[in-house]
């Protein structure tokens, strides 16, 4: 019964869906780190800002969640741009502790701003309900929820877009160049400041998508972003800081491992198992499975 292929496939799909959340977060984080050499600790909070925006657009204006996602991505993207321009830009070149402080301070600012707007109206948890909440594709072996199919499609469409941007455009080339060697890129006439802004905006936008996705499959609160963000940290350490390939594969892998661990070992181990994986990697191979691309 437990090894029924349909059930295992179901678990796999679930793992891939939650893995998409981690993948989007990790990709954004690693993109930002690659270019700016800064870890955005408030990535989980940007994620929840995205979830909350999509939720509000749907709840208050009746906007279809799958359209609202794009508005939310744009909105949080702009927020990310503001954070880079007003926050990280002036600190560049000062002591590292200042950047760490800002990164940490943003957690408190965003979390409390969200909680201030959220808790009086929605109490503890809210969830984005799509019109397809109870509809499934019957694929014989397994029942695939409409939402899961759409979310996977949406995520991959966005990731494809990111791939095209990074590897098929001049701007993407500049971005990768800055990530590989900032000084050389600047000497080649690339406006690295503009690249910083863009990478933070894109990272924030991806976080908003991750948050909206999370908010469609789970109830969420302003504090729900912390754990997924910590897992995304684990993923980028696992995948190698700065490596997008590592973030994508690592994120999906992490989701699938978590899915199976939950299924076989029970919910109590859902979060712990994945962390144990991280500890092992830290002990054995602290530079990550994929090295940062030079």
């Amino acid at each position: 019964m437990i090894l029924d292929p349909g059930v295992l496939l179901q678990v796999l799909i679930w793992g891939l869906v939650i893995g998409s959340v981690y993948m989007l977060l990790a990709t954004g984080l690693t993109l930002i780190f690659g270019v700016m050499k800064v870890i955005n600790f408030a990535h989980g909070e940007l994620m929840m800002t995205g979830a909350f925006l999509t939720f509000l657009l749907w709840h208050a204006l009746g906007l279809h969640p799958y359209l609202g996602v794009f508005v939310s991505m744009a909105g949080v993207g702009l927020l990310g741009i503001a954070v880079e321009r007003l926050g990280f830009r002036p600190l560049r070149g000062t002591a590292k502790i200042n950047e760490i402080f800002l990164s940490i301070a943003l957690i408190l600012i965003l979390q409390n701003a969200l909680a201030r707007a959220f808790i009086p109206y929605f109490r503890e948890y809210a969830q984005i309900r799509t019109p397809y909440a109870h509809r499934v594709f019957d694929l014989g072996l397994l029942n695939l929820r409409y939402d899961f199919a759409i979310l996977l499609g949406l995520t991959w469409a966005v990731m494809l877009g990111l791939y095209l941007l990074l590897f098929r455009t001049e701007f993407g080339r500049e971005m990768r160049g800055t990530s590989q060697n900032r000084l050389a890129a600047a000497l080649m006439g690339i406006d690295v400041g503009r690249i910083d802004t863009a990478s933070f905006g894109i990272g924030a936008g991806l976080a908003a998508l991750a948050g909206s996705l999370y908010g469609i499959i789970n109830p969420f609160s302003p504090y729900s972003g912390t754990l997924p963000a910590i897992k995304a940290f684990a993923v980028i350490i696992l995948g190698g800081l700065g490596s997008i390939r590592g973030a994508v594969l690592g994120g999906l892998l992490y989701g699938v491992v978590e899915g199976f661990a939950t299924f076989f070992l029970g919910g109590a181990w859902r979060d712990a198992t994945a962390f144990i994986l991280l500890l092992l990697v830290l002990l054995v191979r602290p530079e990550g499975i994929f090295r940062e691309r030079a």
Binding site: F41, I97, I104, L241, A272, L278
Partner: protein
């Protein structure tokens, strides 16, 4: 240009004098007022100054811990469990309990010995979440899961409310001053110099014969003990209860904010920072809600970081020097 370790050691005023000043100030306040709320706020300041001191000591060795709540919470749990389940008097468990976070600190230090800056930040950040999971799920039979545990009181039962408040105040003060003296002398010792050298440049430290690995692990262990002591003290005196909520991000962030506000890598900074930030916080809470106050505090700190990157303590030193009552800054 950051001051070198040696010049910093020479410029710091004598810590014994400062310790006496703190005790005198606190005793004076006690002589003037017995206002319960004020005493409680200050007891909180004393306890969390120990906590910030611990974070600052670890930072002094070049390691920025973003998961310090792990130690705070484990110290509290260990001491409370020792007192509840083994019947140890809280006055003893208070000092035995923190050995658990000290051990965990040694473990984390060992595990992260090759990690720096952002890497270290991310991993320590994650440890809080892992510890919370372990405490709630895997050790739920011992820790009563999310409901947490009642903590036995440190002071003998039967004291008046005022007597208990004064007692907690004095115990907090005593331990804070003791911690301060210990950390100040540690920072001035060879070990402290080794920490500072590792902070300034790990490679240079290694080349000049400092056992980087050993000192980094040692700093984490010592930090674990002090943070655990603060957690245990808090549990047995102020909160009288502990729950897994202690392993939150906020509790990991506070010591960083206190230390930055007061002045990083000085033994006085964390105390000054905790006092200033906490008093400001209490004042603000009277006008604003909790969410708004927290945002305001963070923005205030951003201003401090922007305009006084060394924190408030150097300002105080300069102020004292300018008044000329006693030249505290010697070159």
């Amino acid at each position: 240009m950051a001051p070198t370790a040696a010049s910093r050691a020479r410029r710091t005023p004598p810590s014994l004098g400062i310790a006496l000043g703190m005790v005198a100030g606190a005793a004076l306040l006690l002589a003037v007022t017995r206002e319960l709320f004020l005493l409680q706020v200050l007891t909180f300041v004393f306890i969390f100054a120990i906590y910030a001191q611990s974070w600052n000591l670890v930072a002094h060795s070049g390691q920025f811990s973003l998961g310090h709540a792990t130690f705070l919470g484990l110290g509290g749990y260990a001491s409370i469990l020792l007192a509840r389940n083994l019947g140890l008097p809280p006055a003893v468990s208070l000092f035995v309990g923190p050995l658990l976070p000290a051990l965990v600190g040694l473990g984390i230090g060992r595990l992260c010995v090759r990690l720096r800056e952002w890497y270290l930040g991310m991993v320590t950040f994650g440890f809080t979440a892992i510890t919370q999971l372990l405490v709630v799920e895997q050790f739920g039979w011992l820790t009563n899961r999310w409901d947490g545990l009642e903590a036995p009181r440190l002071l003998p039962a039967g004291l008046s409310v005022e007597g208990a408040a004064v007692g907690n105040y004095l115990i907090g003060l005593g331990l804070m001053v003791a911690t301060y003296l210990a950390v100040a002398s540690l920072m001035r010792s060879r070990t402290g110099l080794a920490f500072a050298t590792i902070h300034d440049n790990e490679l240079v430290a290694g080349v000049s014969g400092v056992d980087v690995r050993r000192y980094r692990i040692l700093a984490m262990g010592a930090g674990g003990y002090l943070a655990g002591l603060a957690g245990a003290l808090n549990g047995h005196t102020l909160t009288r209860h502990i729950s897994p909520g202690v392993f939150g991000i906020e509790d990991s962030i506070w010591p960083l904010l206190y230390s930055i506000a007061g002045g990083l890598r000085t033994p006085e900074g964390p105390i000054l920072g905790t006092l200033v930030v906490r008093l400001f916080w209490e004042l603000m809470l009277r006008r604003l809600g909790g969410f708004e106050s927290l945002i305001t505090i963070v923005l205030m700190l951003a201003v401090i970081v922007r305009f006084f990157p060394q924190g408030l303590y150097p300002l105080v030193l300069r102020g004292v020097a300018a008044v000329g009552a006693r030249p505290a800054v010697r070159r």
